[in-house]
Amino acid sequence: MISALKRQDNWTLIGLFITLLMLIALFSWQSEFFFTTRNFINIGQAISIRGLIAIGLTVVMIAGGLDLSMAAVAAVAGMVTASLITLEVNSVLVGVLGIAAAGVLGSFNALLIVKFRINPIIATLGTLLFYRGLAFVSTGGDNIVIGVNAWSELGRGSWLGAPITVWLFLAVVVLGMCFMRFTVAGNHLYAIGGNSEACRNVGIRVDRLRGWTYVAQACLAGLAGLMLTSQSGTALPSALNGAELDIIAAVLLGGIALSGGRGGLLGTLLGLLIIGVVQNGLILLQVQIYWQSVVRGAILIIAVTLDSLRRGGGYR
């Protein structure tokens, strides 16, 4: 934690932490239900699935990329796992194939961006529509109900009083932080985001590493899809539709630069917590649903403004 603080823009993290504490204080003052163990577990559960995708996106963005298709990948992975469960395929194989299917979609993203040199925003906007369409086409738009099965424990079970999804998310956060901080590959991803040409000049395999970030991101999205399906007992082709913007907002809010090379997973975790706390607080205060959309939009605007300020300028 301390080393992560040193590595990141300290003031960004401190600012995020203070913001989070102020929001917690505000909602605790406004609602008696906010500052309860049960509610914090709810917040943890609400952010853990999107959080998994946000962790992958953070790594992609640190390396100077972007992925808009992650929620659609999660939906496809959910449909694949649900289909396999209904076919009574071996439980372990279901999980492996579901995540592998997501990995294949991530490989396609990587192919478009790394090999065909298509701008990541354009490429993944295209695959977002393509993958979401695939999720709908696979069942003609119908949901797949799987009910209780071997995977149900993943989405509904708990350990030491907290949902397994939360533990899994925290484990991925810690592993991701260790990877980015201590491994050579993690450090190369930061360097690639900072100056990819400099990395090429010294022989770092820029394209290969960048490509792997898209595959890893998709696998995490696949895991999120699997968790969501097991949690609800139903695979929806519309699962996480529109969640892309919330996830990007959390990552940007957490100090990841759109230009790459900066930020870290601790910032993303704080960004996720801030958005999770705001959404949860607004629900508890029974704020009209339309206002919640306004607040989410405001958070996204604040996030990109902060990114622009951090880069010392804006759009020219």
Binding site: V184, N187, A191, N195, R200, N201, V202, G203
Partner: protein, 255 residues
């Protein structure tokens, strides 16, 4: 290192024509020429970023090929580009060891060793920075140049190619870079300096190579050369003049 009759064309444009050069350990060669003379093309061929259409290379007497950057690195050729190719968001130590980080167990970075080695290297080159943990974006132009040169040496470079190392630097920072070049000569490196700055070039180099319209126009010891002569060669007012080293290989005669 010996280059023999190296040529490179981009479509109809002949960027380099039959250029031959010798580079020796402990010697600094100033590579001069007007814009479009072929200096950067020659550096990019030596660094493996361009592939020569014709010509051959010898390293320590044996023929070698340079088809990609990895080939050049394997031969100990390190290039410091005009834009320095530094990662501004990373620390000095990271930049010096970029791509060659000390490792533990294969995949993990040995950060302590990297920072310790970076300190030793900066001290050897007499480069003073507040800390090797400082991000490069916080350094001055001269300090950045020093970091880029340190990286070239850390890469095991025996032949250092410096592309406009003093461009956009102040007087004091330029002196720092000249001091670094001199200390590299003392470390027995072969150094090629591309520059437009003629003010101190004769003081810091042992030989001068002037390219003009892709051809080696002049090649002479710095001690026997004047600034006016160099200007004459660059502009083409003075006739071609090739001595000591590349004479025989360049179109077969002392031009």
């Amino acid at each position: 290192m010996r280059l023999s009759n190296v040529s490179k064309a981009f479509g109809q444009v002949k960027a380099l024509v039959d250029v031959s050069l010798d580079l020796h350990a402990g010697e600094v060669v100033g590579l001069l020429g007007d814009n479009g003379a072929g200096k950067s093309t020659l550096i990019k061929i030596l660094s493996g970023n361009y592939h020569a259409d014709e010509g051959s290379f010898e390293y320590q007497g044996r023929p070698v090929t340079i088809n990609r950057p990895a080939d050049a690195q394997a031969l100990g050729i390190a290039t410091v580009y005009q834009d320095l190719a530094l990662v501004e968001t990373r620390s000095v130590a990271h930049n010096i060891y970029l791509g060659r980080e000390p490792r533990r167990f294969g995949y993990f970075m040995d950060r302590r060793k990297m920072e310790r080695d970076a300190n030793v290297m900066l001290e050897e080159l007499n480069i003073r920075l507040a800390s090797q943990k400082t991000d490069v974006e916080l350094l001055s132009g001269g300090q950045r140049q020093a970091v880029a040169l340190s990286r070239a040496i850390a890469m095991g470079g025996n032949i250092l190619l410096l592309d406009e190392p003093t461009a956009a630097l102040g007087v004091e920072q330029t002196q720092q870079v000249h001091h670094l070049i001199t200390s590299m000569r003392r470390q027995d490196k072969a150094v090629v300096v591309i520059t437009h700055d003629l003010s101190d070039i004769l003081d810091i180099t042992d030989r001068i190579a002037v390219l003009r319209q892709g051809k080696l126009w002049a090649y002479a010891p710095s001690s026997e050369t004047t600034t006016n002569q160099i200007i004459g060669w660059i502009t083409g007012v003075a006739p071609p003049h090739v001595r000591n080293g590349a004479v025989e290989m360049n179109n077969g005669s002392d031009q």
